[in-house]
Structures are given as structure tokens and as C-alpha cells.
Symmetry: D2
């Protein structure tokens, strides 16, 4: 049920198969390599997630959601970035949209900008869609909560409607990069 | 089953009744007001724990385990410290031992020094006894895991023996305050 | 011309003789051991000043200006604090005033609170009286500027009236400790 | 006397004329946009230098010394980087060498890698050539010292041979990016 439209996978021997993630909590960190808040906060936090949680329970995926400077944030540039920053998780390139600067997965989940954190439970349901900065302790808590949910009985639990926060609707106040975070312009 | 030998309670209208904590995860941060690592790391982290986790599920208690400079780290000095640092949790004074610099609760749990973090599950069982620094993400994960354990069925689960880490035996290499942490000397 | 009213000197084999400082730039860090902003920022910065600048040109002095919690911020408590925080500079105890909570040197220089940084040039003239936080780069610049002033010809230069900032007049909005800094109340 | 071989200037209405810098202290920060230590430390420190020191006395220049990933660290990519990170100083592109990955200015000054900090005095003499991280207080001190040197009499002073540190000879242990800093490989 996790929908990633991807045009390339980097830092992994082969593309991550979404079907293979069923039963795992899935962390998706949406970033751009030239987004200051991603580089200073989101990327290091995602690296810590990978170190703190076991691979058998939690999958961690980077998603390069380029919505500006498309000509320089290319897959080849991303490859150099991944190497220099020693990323420890696979990175997907969000598939470009035809006729729109915002790529397809970013549109699908109505991400407000970068960095964004998506958390999916073991059943593949989106449980958190957060734009901006979250404290490490909060992130550690949220992922552990999802890990602790019973599976495959999670569906019933879902009926109770628990969500960490309201799904973020598309933001209105969009205006480039400020304060380290980036949002699409002119949408 | 949580054992706190206390000689005073501060920052709370009345002493915290251990019996009232049954069913809650309990976080005990053992510190000294003149321990640099407690002031720079342990205390702020404990404040964040209080902010991130709900009071109905998680109790947070500070424990002033004075094992050196007894004449100046008095309850009255601690009171001023609590006020200036705006602590947001109740603080117990660990009861002094007669004839020994290490106070009673610190002895009971064989704490190696300050800062130390103790985590008790909803059944009152000690599940973590950690001396030194832990990352916020790890602490967030551990507390959330304990919160997620079923209760009152937790006892059965305990039989499976899960513990975050080995209970710390009494440390051997004791040597005052270095690198921000403090350990009892000459014991 | 530097006026320190002191009731004790700690962390030094003997009291620092003000006359012996003539010809040196003198840095005085006014702090209280229970002031959060002093512990997290002012004290570590003062330690770095001591490490970056040579002793033959720059003297560094801590001044314990107790204006609240007098009963617990005693010289004996300060001694333990100095030991645990491994201070690398001599510390003077600002002499208590009779009938007033603000000690004598603090009154003399009309310090607004703690932490405060005083910079004296090689001629003993006060050139900076700053309450609150200053960036390390600014502090490095200011001290180096004072070091570079010619001596004993500094007096002539003084005539040109250069000062880093206006001498701080006594603050009006006094209100305990907030945001890490402390100011005297009820004055 | 400052030698910058440049192939482009960004973030400035026109190329900085070296002759126009005579009489100013000149700070050159050599960086690569994909060098982690440059992004986390060198660039922010250079921004602070620009904020702390007056333009009439201190010139601040970024130098993009690309010695790896040449195909993605292009002037156009650098332009996007400058925009997203809100750089507040002009940036020169170090002129590529023919037949060698290390660009010309980097070769001229035998820079060991990125980030590197070059300080030139008012007479245009190189006084510091430092690879890696320097504390803000040290940088503040060094620049203020250079500012304070008499000019145009600085030449005589130079005869006394004062230098902050030995000019760095070409490093031997070259090995890509590690610990945030990058050094040329296979040279």
C-alpha cells in the first residue's frame, strides 16, 4: 500500500521491492540534496534511525523529491552526495512529473516540502506525514509505537483510528527555502 | 516493587507514592546538582521525556543521589537548583547512608555514578539501569516499548526474559568526575 | 584601576593582585554557580578564552557575584563547583554588601545580572560591560583588539573615545532567571 | 599579491578585483559544495566572519576548489547551492587545471583539501593556510590581529617573520572525504 513512484534507486544493490516491506515499519525521509534543513537535520536523523532500529523490523528509505533546481540535483549529483555523506540507507529518486516541477510521489502524498518524514505501519498504512523538524525522542517514540503494534492484527486496531497527527493537507503558504526547509513555489 | 529510599521530596505538593505508580512506566533520573554531565545532558533529556510522554502512562522522577560534597549539595541547595533550572518533574532526595558516602537507593540499585537512567515497566520491574549518556532516540524508543507492553499481562511476558541490556553490576573503575560523569570514589 | 571587592579567592595559590595586572588585558567573567546560562555558555566560553589567549598578555578571572540564594551559593559550594567543572582560571568571591543582596563589585560596575563579561584594556580601563551571551568570534575579536593596542601609549588612544559598546546602565526590567540569564530582583 | 585563478565569480555583481583588496585583511574560505565539513562548519563560520567584521577592513571570499566529482559540482550547481544556503559573500570558481583534477589556485597554495582557511594581511601576504576546523574564537582573534597591524608599515613588521603557523606543505596522507573533510586522492 506504500506508493513510491521512482525513476532510480541508489545506494542499494537492487530496487527495494515494496511488497517485501509488508510486516515492517517503513520510514521514508523525503529530502533534496541542496535543502539546508535536510542536510543539517533530516539526513543525520535518518542515519540515527537506521542505527537505532533493527533492519528486520524497520525499513529506512531516502526519497529524493526534487521540486526545484532540477538541472543540478540529478541522479548523478545525488550519487556523489550519497557517497560524500556516507548514507547508510537506500535512496529512491522520486519520478519527475511531466509538465509539473513537483515529482510524482511528492504529489501523491501531498508533501509540503523538504525535509518530510513519512511513517508507515507494518500493514503499509501511512501513519505520519510531517514536514519540518521533529525531535529525536519523538521520532524514537513514534517508530517504537508502530513496531509494537500487533501484526497481522493491525487492521482491526486501525479501525480505532489512532493517528499521530492529522494528515497534512497541502500547505498554502509556499515560498522557496527559508529557515532550512524548502517548499515548492508557484503551485 | 520500585524501591526509593528518600529523605525528602521537592518540586511536588506531596511525596510520590510508589504504589500509585503501578501500571505506569517509571523513569528515574539519578543525578547530582554539581555533576556536569547531569546538568548538560541528563537533566535536559529528562525534561524532554516529561514533555514527550503523557503523564497518565509515564511517571518521571528525579533522584538526587549525593555521594560527594555532601555539605554543599543539601536539600536547600537542591531547591534553588530546581528553581533556577525550571525542572518540570518531582525530585526525591536519596536517603543518606549512615557511615557510607553513597546514599541508600544508589546502593540498592548499585548505580555506578551520575547521571544514571533507570526504567521500570508498568509492573514495577527494573528494565534498564544505565550509567552515562544515551541518545534521545534510544530513550524515546525504550520508553515507548515499555508503554506498549500489555498490562496486567506483563508478568508473563517478563518470563521471556527481555531486557534492554544487562543489569549493570557495580563498576570497578571508580574515579571521581571525568568527562562530565561522576562516580563514587574509594568504595 | 580595576576594582574588585573580594571576600575570598579560590582556584589560585594566592589572591590575584590587581596591580600585577597592569599591562595585561583583563577578562572578568561574572557568574553564579546556579545560573543556567553561566554554566552552559559563560563558563565554557571563559575556559576557551583561557586556552586561546596567552597568560602573559591576557588575565582571566571568574567573579562569583551572588545576588540570590546566598545561603547555598557559599564559598564552600563554589569550591566544589570549581572542582567538578575543572575551571582553569582563578575565581574571586564578590564581597557581600551589608543590607543589600547585590554584592559590592556587581554594584560598582552596575552589572545587570549573570552571565556578564567585563573587558579591561592594558591600562585597566573598562572597555566592555556586557550582560548575556556573546558569540565566540566576537569575543575573540574584542580581546585581540585590546591586545593589539599599543602600551603604554594606550592613554592617548583612549582620548579618541573608542568603546565597543555603550557602558550598560543599570537595567530596569529585572526579573529573576529567565532564558538562562539571571538578574537581581526587587532592586 | 593574492593569487586567485578563477574561471567564474558568483554572488557578486562583478568579479572581485584583487588590486582593490590592498589594505584590507582578506579571508578566503576554500570549499566544495559536497564536502560535509564545509557545509556543517566552514560555510557557517565564514558567514559569521562576514557578520562580525566590517567590510571596509575585511574582505571575505569563498573559493570553490573542486578536485572531485567535477561533473556535478558545476558553476550552475554552485549557483543553486549559494542561493539555498543564502551565502553572504562573493564566491570564485577555482580555475580547473588541464590534465589534473586539482584546480589552479588550490595547487598554487598547496591546499591539503577542504575546508581550508586562508588569511592574507593588509599587504596581501599569506599569513594563515589552515586545513580543517578552527574554533570561532581563534578565527576571531587571528583576523582581529591582522586588522590591528599598522598599514602601510606592515612590510617592516613582516621582516620580523611572525606567522600564525607554519605554511602547510602538501599533505602526504591523502584519502578522499573522511570525518567531514575532503582531500584530493591519487596525487
Amino acid at each position: 500500500m506504500i506508493t513510491l513512484h521512482t525513476s532510480a534507486w541508489l545506494n542499494t544493490p537492487k530496487p527495494v521491492d515494496m511488497a517485501s516491506l509488508r510486516g515492517k515499519v517503513v520510514v521514508v525521509h523525503a529530502f533534496q540534496m541542496l535543502c539546508p534543513g535536510c542536510v543539517s537535520h533530516g539526513i543525520p536523523q535518518t542515519q540515527r534511525i537506521r542505527e537505532v532500529f533493527p533492519e528486520e523490523d524497520v525499513a529506512v528509505i531516502g526519497l529524493h523529491t526534487v521540486f526545484e533546481h532540477h538541472d543540478v540535483m540529478t541522479p548523478r549529483a545525488l550519487e556523489a552526495f550519497i557517497h560524500e555523506y556516507r548514507l547508510n540507507f537506500p535512496v529512491a529518486v522520486d519520478e519527475p512529473s511531466s509538465g509539473h516541477p513537483v515529482p510524482r510521489t511528492m504529489q501523491h502524498y501531498a508533501l509540503k516540502g523538504t525535509p518530510s518524514l513519512l511513517l508507515f505501519d507494518r500493514a503499509g498504512e501511512l501513519r505520519l506525514n510531517h514536514f519540518g523538524r521533529l525531535d529525536d525522542m519523538v521520532v524514537g517514540r513514534l517508530i517504537a509505537q508502530l513496531m509494537a503494534e500487533p501484526w497481522p492484527d493491525v487492521a482491526a486496531e486501525r479501525a480505532s483510528g489512532a493517528a499521530f497527527g492529522a494528515a497534512s493537507a497541502r500547505g498554502e503558504e509556499l515560498d522557496g527555502c527559508e529557515g532550512g526547509v524548502c517548499v515548492p513555489r508557484h503551485l
